[in-house]
């Protein structure tokens, strides 16, 4: 297995520690003029999202992680599993609830997500920044009230609930920012 030594350390490196994939999110070189060079690194666990502080001395190395990012289309869910398909190879991948995390709120059939594979196995999925979802249920909209400062809950086709303005009706299509979970606008088809 390939590995990186300290002189190759840099932000963005994908490595593995104790079998888990990590992203190097910070790497600081410190060295007393007449002493040991140290590399102070912050590493984010790509499965659990936890951050680890590690110090290396020059000449140390870390095993490289085989990480690949692919475009994968969401197909359907079955029990606790979400099934995706690689848009290029048509290979199917199943992800569990904990890997999809909050992402399920935005997943409707056909949504193309970015998926991370570690040693060929999926470890996480990120929906596109904006998704358009159909409102399945909400209180009826107040006719003529186009104010956006009054909000109400609505339930969309994925089963998730979002806050939307009072004028939104059942059957409307709304655009949501998946990074914040915020309503952006009402859209036509």
């Amino acid at each position: 297995m390939a590995s990186y030594n300290t002189s190759q350390f840099r932000k963005g490196l994908k490595v593995q520690l104790d079998g888990d994939p990590y992203l190097m999110i910070e790497c600081n070189f410190v060295k007393p003029g007449k002493g040991q060079a140290l590399y102070k690194c912050k590493l984010r666990n790509l499965v659990r999202n936890t951050v680890l502080d590690r110090t290396y001395k020059s000449g140390d190395s870390i095993e490289a992680a085989d990480i690949e990012e692919i475009a994968a289309q969401y197909l359907y869910h079955q029990g606790d599993h979400f099934v995706f398909m690689d848009n290029q190879s048509y290979e199917q991948y199943e992800l569990g609830q904990e890997q999809v995390d909050d992402g399920w709120r935005y997943l409707k059939e056909g949504t193309v997500c970015s998926m991370l594979l570690f040693d060929g196995k999926p470890i996480g999925v990120t929906p596109p920044n904006h998704v358009v979802l159909k409102v399945e249920y909400c209180e009826p909209g107040a006719r003529g009230n186009t104010a956006t400062n009054v909000s109400k809950p609505c339930k969309v086709e994925t089963g998730a609930e979002f806050d939307c303005p009072a004028f939104v009706n059942m059957g409307d299509l709304i655009k949501i920012d998946t990074r914040t979970g915020q309503y952006i606008e009402r859209v036509k088809e």
Partner: protein
């Protein structure tokens, strides 16, 4: 005008900082001139190189002729050897503004090619050497005279241990107490490695926050090219000046004994090989100069890029370099 997709032809320093840099260089030369120093220039590329466990030089090989082995030359990691040869040949007070090169040293405070100001004055002891260093920094940065703190007192204050007597186990537990995960490859026997880690993590950040601090009397095992004073325990007559937690200058009451230099070279190479590095040549013209006779002197080197950085209030040397290594 077209906009090139790649923007890395541009300098990373603003003109304002380049002007500040030029101004500091001018004032630095005035300072040395006023103090009776002669500016000298010596080769950047040399057949000799400093043998240090933690310094890796750039090198190049030059063909000499058919059937002859290549001549290996080194880019200097400091102008130390050449300047001491000048002292042996009659130099009294000399300084140099030199470009120096160190492999793999890159970060907010490091660039593999950097500018080092180095000076020597014959007849000085540790006290005079520290005074001149403090005066120079005060003249250029206006942060007041440096406070002096022994290496031992600094460790007692910030770590609560005596760095000269504590064994590795005590050093390791001091690291663990503050929640630092040490490099797995750091050997329990590598006492200096643990001291460096403590200095970096626990001591250095406090140094020179209010006013400049000079740390002096280093462990004898970290003497490099400084002489060792036979106190109990013996200490290296070496000092470093810190401002805002940044190491700015390093000075030695210079080692004069060629036999001792030979012994340290052998030891540094043994450590290099244990670290998986190639050994460096132990023979040099400095040894010949020392055998001829080197006058007692203090020598100091100062990181000029860091000095400019401090004057500019910058956070990285790239803010005061026209073109750092990745744009060189």
């Amino acid at each position: 005008m077209s906009h090139p997709a790649n923007d890395d032809f541009r300098p990373t320093a603003r003109w304002e900082n380049l002007r500040l840099r030029a101004g500091l260089l001018r004032r630095l030369r005035e300072f040395f001139d006023r103090h009776g120093f002669l500016e000298v220039e010596t080769p950047i590329l040399s057949a000799d190189t400093v043998v240090d466990r933690h310094l890796d030089p750039f090198s190049t090989e030059i063909p000499r002729g058919p059937g002859e082995p290549l001549l290996r030359l080194w880019l200097q990691t400091s102008p130390e050897f050449a300047m001491k040869r000048l002292l042996a040949a009659g130099g009294r007070a000399i300084y140099q503004v030199a470009r120096v090169f160190r492999l793999d040293e890159q970060g907010p405070l490091h660039n593999p090619e950097f500018t080092m100001v180095e000076w020597y004055r014959v007849g000085d002891g540790l006290d005079e050497g520290m005074q001149l260093t403090s005066d120079l920094c005060d003249a250029l940065l206006r942060r007041g005279p440096a406070e002096r703190l022994s290496y031992r007192a600094a460790f007692q204050e910030h770590v609560g241990i005596d760095p000269h007597t504590a064994d590795s186990a005590v050093l390791i537990s001091a690291i663990e107490r503050c929640g630092i995960v040490p490099p797995a490859s750091l050997s329990n026997q590598d006492r200096d490695g643990w001291l460096d880690l403590l200095l970096t993590e626990r001591v250095r950040p406090h140094l020179g926050q209010k006013r400049p601090v000079i740390l002096y009397d280093y462990p004898a095992t970290q003497a490099a090219l400084a002489r060792v004073r036979p106190d109990e325990p013996p200490v290296a007559e070496r000092f470093e000046l810190f401002i805002s937690g940044i190491e700015l200058a390093n000075g030695y009451h210079e080692l004069l004994d060629p036999a001792e230099l030979r012994r340290r070279n052998v030891q540094a190479n043994a450590q290099r090989q244990a670290d998986g590095k190639s050994p460096l040549p132990e023979q040099s013209r400095l040894l010949a100069a020392m055998q001829f006779g080197l006058p007692a002197a203090v020598g100091v080197s100062l990181g000029f890029d860091r000095l400019v950085m401090l004057a500019a209030g910058a956070r990285s040397v790239s803010e005061v370099l026209a073109f750092p290594f990745d744009r060189a």
